[in-house]
């Protein structure tokens, strides 16, 4: 079991409010990603759940039990750190087995569990090496091994893949997701990379300035962003925002259209017209950055190759069903 509930959790460091009241329900076995720009409080929130920081207010419930006064070791959670935080003087075996040793398990049981975890993570040949003799990816695996071997109620991941190169990151992303599904253990994963968030999460928590902006499944966030911040943060390239007369016609202060929901027409007469400033041809996609005069810079995405170049005139036709409307305060208008 690993159900985690936050009730009005607050954290301040001196006069600075880092977390301004977070309410959250994380179902057992789900994979939840905290995402947001740097400084939004996502790591702090994770550390509050871990018990590495004390809350300034509110409750944290693990399986219904309030743990705000429980030390980290007693919360039954395990954590994977951004820096891996392996014990440099211990072998891989010692690193993975440290938690079990602290729990006072008999030696042969520790060995059995460590070897099972190592086998899951393809670490068996490295069990007697020191962390400094391993590559980045292997170190990351050891850190994960240390987390899974204790069979915790939940895994906490603090940007665990940010120190890996791009190719390895994609590979580890898949491995972590698969491992979590296989074990069925609740996971909370902090990242600033929205692609990681979208691909790994069952549910995403978007944080900004210490507040939870939205909590929902990746597609919910993509299709029905609650406000301008979420709309702009989720999706790549970023959603286009248009204000002024055009928005007013739609009964909104701001309207937003994702680049992939703009139909591109060469020399068209209707829609939003402009001149291509930059055209990026990736083969699989074509990204156009269009200078649309008063509307500002607009981004349009075309699936596949489109032979348009900088300087060409285009008109962009937004898909009427995919226009997001926001009020003055930036909140989404529905219906």
């Amino acid at each position: 079991m690993g159900q985690i509930t936050l009730q009005g959790v607050q954290k301040s460091f001196g006069p600075v409010h880092i977390i301004k009241g977070a309410d959250l329900d994380i179902a057992d076995g789900s994979f939840v990603v905290f995402v947001g720009p740097s400084g939004c409080g996502k790591t702090t929130l994770l550390r509050l759940i871990a018990g590495l920081e004390d809350v300034s207010g509110g409750n944290i419930l693990i399986d219904g039990k309030n743990v705000v006064d429980t030390p980290p070791a007693k919360r039954g959670l395990s954590m994977v750190f951004q820096s891996y935080a392996l014990y440099p003087h211990m072998s891989v075996r010692g690193n993975i087995g440290f938690g079990l040793k602290m729990a006072g398990l008999p030696k042969d049981e520790i060995n059995r569990k460590v070897e099972a975890a190592a086998a899951t993570l393809n670490l068996t040949p490295y069990l007697d090496r020191k962390p400094r003799e391993l590559s980045g990816g292997q170190r990351q695996r050891v850190a994960i091994g240390r987390a899974i071997v204790r069979e915790p109620k939940a895994f906490l991941f603090d940007e665990p893949l940010s120190n890996l190169d791009a190719a390895l990151r994609v590979q580890m992303r898949i491995e972590v997701t698969r491992l979590q599904k296989q074990l069925g253990t609740t996971a909370i994963y902090v990242t600033h990379d929205q692609v990681e968030a979208m691909t790994m999460a069952d549910k995403i928590v978007v944080l900004n300035g210490g507040k939870i902006e939205q909590y929902g499944s990746p597609l919910e966030l993509y299709e029905r962003p609650a406000n301008l911040f979420v709309a702009g943060f989720i999706g790549s390239p970023k959603m286009n925002f248009v204000t002024g007369e055009l928005a007013k016609q739609q009964g909104a202060a701001t309207i937003g259209v994702r680049p992939e929901h703009l139909k591109i027409e060469r020399d068209g007469a209707g829609g939003w017209q402009g001149t291509i400033a930059v055209a990026e041809h990736l083969g699989s996609d074509t990204f156009l950055y269009v200078d649309a005069g008063q509307l500002g810079m607009l981004t349009a995405r075309y699936i596949g190759e489109l032979s348009l170049h900088a300087g060409d005139r285009v008109s962009l036709l937004p898909d009427p069903a995919r226009i997001h409307r926001f009020d003055e305060a930036g909140n989404a208008l529905r219906g």
């Binding site: 980290p72 959670l77 395990s78 935080a85 392996l86 014990y87 440290f98 938690g99 729990a103 240390r146």
Partner: protein, 276 residues
Amino acid sequence: MARMATTRRVVVSTIGAWFFGFLIFFPILWMVLASFKTELEAFAVPPSFLLFHWTTENYATVQERSDYFHHAMNSIIIAGGSTLIALLIAIPAAWSMAFSPTKRTKDILLWMLSTKMMPPVGVLVPIYLIYKSFGLLDSRIGLVFILCLGNLPIVIWMLFTYFKEIPRDILEAARMDGATIGRELVYVLTPMAIPGLASTLLLNLILAWNEAFWTLNLSTSNAAPLTTFIASYSSPEGLFWAKLSAASTLAIAPILVLGWFSQKQLVRGLTFGAVK
């Protein structure tokens, strides 16, 4: 061509390194050589380097005239005692400043160091009077106390920098793994801090061993360590170079041997954190 240039550079720098190494080592070598000369040969001009009449007579005289082992024992007790007490105080102090610093931690560190900026002679008279009225003059406890206090700022500074190098994440990982503060200390922090602790201990031992100002001023015979023993050979009856050299060689021998065997540890500790 490029390879030849590299070889030449290696040869030149090797010769240079040996030359400077020898230059630094020379005073000690000369002292050891002089201790085996007769008094006459010791200040002969031009000096003979190796071709002199080797004698151990000076050592015998020195041991006969003043009790080497008595002074050596005092040195061991004073240097060892002051180092151990300094470490016992400095470890928790440096620990708390490194792992839970406050706004004032930097100021406290600087304040500690500022006490080293004052010349010791400035407080000699008050300290002497205090020692006199507490009966601490010429006592081992008194010397342990003053050397411990004198070196404490440096010990705390060194340990603070070593502890600072230990990533917080690792301690937090241990905490998540269920380690109590005590077990965290035993299984994680101490093994990681050993190079730093060892070099701090060694450096402080050397500093305390060679400390001459307070030991010369606050001790006469009972508690007199090897520094006093050496000083007694620069006497008003004239300089006896050979005997002075023999006394000095005897005085630095223990610390030299210790330093020789622990040089790897010492260098590692002193450059700790410089190379990742």
